[in-house]
Subunit: 335 residues, 2 copies
DNA sequence: TCCCTCCAATTTATCGATACACCATCGAGA
DNA sequence: TCTCGATGGTGTATCGATAAATTGGAGGGA
């Protein structure tokens, strides 16, 4: 492996001069700069990042912890984060938490060790109890809906407003028996994404003067396409009548549409379906999926901006909470 | 930051002993081991990986370079790679090449610098011309269909056999005018995924005694859902008659199905469609998508096994090429 | 002429963990 | 009794880059 001193020797200068050239610091004469660059080319030198990291304490890596890249939403998120981070000169190490709290705590705990300058955590389970952990850790931005006191920066989705708008939209399209398709979580679990979206659904019903009917809660185990398809099938078999479904995510909505197809029900003629996320596939499914579209680019840009501010300026600062704007995109599934 | 010598001081031993305990090396007495572990707990020590990396030359990181996590296939691949790598004790840094050769070369070139012990490159564009680059680089496994002489380990898909089987399947289902939906690539470009799959399509037609009709090549720009939908729409508008479509990937197949729906054609009644990859969504779309299902777990496991062998044993070894087994999964879209 | 400032470039010490060589002790075999 | 091998542990140099302190001139003002 060719090191800086090899380059220095060849160029006839000190390693510091090489370092200065490599890092684009001024105060190197044109003459020497050229000689150094030639020597770099000639030797094929590439910098050893661990050495720099050891010395400077920064890695140029951002950690991204998501439940799983397998979920379309998180895959698209990952793609955006990696692209945006690359623009800012960061590389991204991805970690899958499995949507378990252990995985999430792990991600935070490992992030020291993990050699990253900051962490973007798409948290599902982690809560205020673990806030202490979060505070001791490296710069952190949370994506998701939990509250963490004032300590942590936080880029949230418009969960309540989103599903409320979705529900109202179904009502406007003529639905009167609107089901809620989601996995269930303990109701006392404050500020969980699922709870907030359920709350929005309820508000939407209330806005329309409709009463909530417990029968209309689709029994979904995990928020996957498979479980959603099974859940809605169960509901149909049980003879529950409904003409609209608000799904907690697009993936669940796809599962619901699949389950309805299995049951011989047509979307949107028999049942209208609306999702949340606006993943790519939503515009290409048959029927295409109406959905709540948070501004993903805004979220990622914001998260990375907050994070890189914290990375550059370590002085303590209260956590900020920002909520993404959203649009309701009406497509065939609610026509 | 608490270092090893802090722990050593507290435990009243040398840093080497701490190091030995941390790394689970034997030849530390029970007594000292306990004292060290207590000291670790008490101080909250976590190891500084950069220091270890600098000293040992290994990072515990594997690079994964894919065109984009935005494509369902690569998202699922990424998920598997990260999970499997975690089992083997590696973390994964993901890089998006944008399916451009520059991005791919970048990925290889940066991989030195990038502090990873090995690289899994899902190559689309890179070819034999760049083989020199590949040889100088860190341990590398290619996922994809290009040939790279004998130099590089290579886990390939059953591209030719796969689309051949897909085509034959359509024939068996009664299709006689079978279209090929794919982006076009220069025909002289050897061992490109797309070329191989096209070849399989042709072989399938030949097997069935059907003649290839240039009219039946769907004009797709990029292998995305949007372009596929546009391409098939164009073909319908042009009045081309067809009763089956073999798509180069599942994403393209979804786009095709969407485009057919726009044109008022039913799948499978009017046109049968088959894809390639068996992404998750294939079983949940309406209609569900018949497809060629390579054994993804096998591919990932194999790739990581090859890679970790090369990482552990640097002695030069000729490149191996392994081809994944596959199944044809018949679903509603070709019923 | 002398002193002082500035600038380019170099020297030196250091980041934290580990490879390696070395030392001490103890028990067994000759 | 002496030697040898195993066991358990320590001291020191080192990985490669960089921060901080230092040197040696080149100007510039008095």
């Amino acid at each position: 492996m060719v090191t800086m001193s090899d380059v220095a020797r060849l160029a006839g200068v000190s390693t510091m001069t090489v370092s200065n050239v490599i890092n684009g610091r001024r105060s190197v004469s044109q003459d020497l700069r050229r000689r150094v660059l030639d020597a770099v080319r000639e030797t094929g030198y590439t910098m050893n990042r661990s050495a720099r990291t050891l010395r400077t304490g920064t890695t140029g890596v951002i950690g991204l912890a998501v439940p799983s890249l397998d979920h379309m939403y998180f895959a698209e998120l990952g793609s955006r984060v990696i692209a945006k981070a690359a623009e800012l000169g960061y590389r991204v190490a991805v970690q899958q938490t499995g949507a378990h709290i252990e995985g999430e705590i792990d991600a935070v705990a490992m992030s020291h060790t993990l050699d990253c300058d900051g962490l973007i955590l798409s948290a599902i389970e982690i809560g205020p109890e673990e806030a202490a952990l979060l505070n001791r850790s490296i710069p952190l931005v949370l994506l998701g809906e939990r509250l963490y006191g004032e300590a942590v920066d936080h880029v949230a989705m418009p969960n309540v407003e989103g599903t409320r708008a979705a529900t109202v939209h179904l009502v406007e399209q003529g639905c009167r028996r609107i089901a809620w398709a989601s996995n269930a979580v303990p109701e006392d679990d404050q500020h969980n994404v699922v709870i907030d979206r359920l709350l929005g659904y309820r508000r939407g019903l209330a806005d329309a003067g409709l009463r909530e009917d417990p029968e209309l809660l689709v029994p979904v185990d995990q928020p996957t396409m498979a479980d959603a398809a099974a859940g809605i099938a169960q509901m149909v078999r049980d003879g529950v009548e409904f003409d609209g479904v608000v799904a907690v995510t697009d993936a669940v909505a796809f599962g619901v549409m699949r389950g309805l197809a299995n049951a011989g029900l047509r979307v949107p003629q028999d049942v209208r379906v609306i999702g949340f996320d606006d993943v790519q596939h939503a515009q290409f499914s048959v029927p295409s999926l109406s959905t709540i579209a948070p501004d993903h680019d805004w979220m990622v840009t914001t998260a990375l901006t907050l994070l890189s501010e914290r990375i550059k300026d370590h002085s303590p600062r209260p956590g900020r909470e920002l909520v993404a704007p959203f649009r309701l995109v009406a497509r065939e599934s609610t026509a």
